[in-house]
């Protein structure tokens, strides 16, 4: 589309969803592209036009609008959230006893994916050369659970919840074992899995798990278990223009409900 006087503003500032494709996708407001416009980067202008509006914020998700920033930088933020924000996650799993039906490596993989509540800023990365786990770079967790038959179950029942004790291993069974001075430093904050009800394995009487785990600090680029977000995404703020007046019933239907 030629840049005539009328649609220069549209080309500079809008991405258009056409019937067969998307138009004006790439940023074109660079200095020298449009005569009469000064597009050189100006920090004052950016600060004046930039604002953030939080739409929704709760424990597990957040949505906010950023106005006045280019998609290149917003995308950089998204990429950093996914891959370069560090977290703590279980890395080394020492299996002393696993008589459950879940294989060692599958169990270790599942444990690695459990989100751990610990502030990664208070820990350091572990050097590749270090063999010993130190209090500044490791969190030690323990999972020790044995399934047994319930002596008080009635004879006819077939419900596993009644027949067996500890037959479902949840993340709440993972206990934190403080090393070094961690007991003093983290006395008030509870270190452990974020969610209590993640099912790790199922056991039957006689099967047991005796596992010690080391959590280290890492980033999503290394392994997805270190990514702090379930996902992070962005989209351009939509602008919907009604071409004609809408009245009556159609207006009721079209009303945007929050």
């Amino acid at each position: 589309m030629a840049a005539t006087m009328k649609n220069v503003e549209e080309i500079r500032s809008r991405v258009i969803l056409g019937e067969f494709g998307v138009k004006n996708v790439h940023t074109s407001d660079f200095p020298g592209n449009y005569p009469g416009y000064d597009d050189t980067w100006d920090m004052q202008k950016f600060q004046k036009n930039f604002r953030i509006d939080v739409v929704h914020l709760d424990e597990s998700s957040m949505e906010f609008d950023m106005v006045g920033i280019d998609a290149a930088i917003a995308n950089a933020f998204r990429r950093i959230l996914l891959a370069e924000v560090p977290t703590m996650a279980i890395e080394k799993v020492f299996i002393y006893n696993n008589t459950s039906i879940v294989q060692d490596e599958v169990l270790a993989h599942r444990l690695g994916l459990i989100p751990i509540r610990a502030d990664p800023r208070l820990f350091e990365y572990r050097n590749a050369a270090e063999e010993e786990a130190s209090e500044i770079d490791t969190i030690q967790l323990q999972l020790k659970i044995k399934c047994s038959r319930n002596p008080r179950a009635s004879k006819e029942s077939s419900d596993p919840r009644e027949l067996y004790l500890n037959h479902m291993v949840y993340s709440r069974d993972i206990k934190w074992v403080p090393i070094g001075n961690q007991a003093d430093v983290f006395a008030d904050s509870s270190i452990g899995p974020v969610h209590d009800d993640i099912l790790i394995a199922q056991l039957r009487p006689g099967q047991e798990l005796d596992i010690v785990m080391h959590c280290v600090k890492g980033i999503g680029k290394d392994h997805a278990k270190f990514s702090p977000v379930a996902t992070a995404s962005y989209r351009l703020l939509p602008e919907i223009t009604l071409l004609e007046q809408v009245e009556g019933e159609k207006a009721e239907q079209a009303m945007i409900k929050k």
Binding site: T27, F30, P31, D39, T40, W41, M43, F46, Q47, F50, R51, I52, D53, V54, L57, F64, M66, I69, D70, A72, I73, N75, A76, F77, R79, I80, A83, E84, Y125, R126, N127, A128, A129, G218, I219, K221, D222
Partner: protein, 114 residues
Amino acid sequence: MAGEGEKKPVLEMIQADGADEGCVTFVLHDEDHTLGNSLRYMIMKTLDVEFCGYTITHPSESKINFRIQTRGGLPASEPLRRGLNELTDVCQHVLNTFQARVNEFKEGQEQPME
């Protein structure tokens, strides 16, 4: 990122034209689109930059070729330095604004509950 044992270059400069300081290709190690695209945007917004682009030479290698061509005899490292500083400033400003707005929102949420 986790520390590495040996020293690896972070940034190399390759000049294709003999004497012209204005056309330089930089090789940035351990970088990808995260820095490449955002830095390209900031440098394109600078005056006197005739060309700015980046490529990822091969997806298995984490390095980018970043090329800057300037107009008027300006050495190419100048817009690169400016672009990096401006990108840092932008991110700092976004962080400050974000923290302020989130705190405002949280306070606004607490009040109706009280």
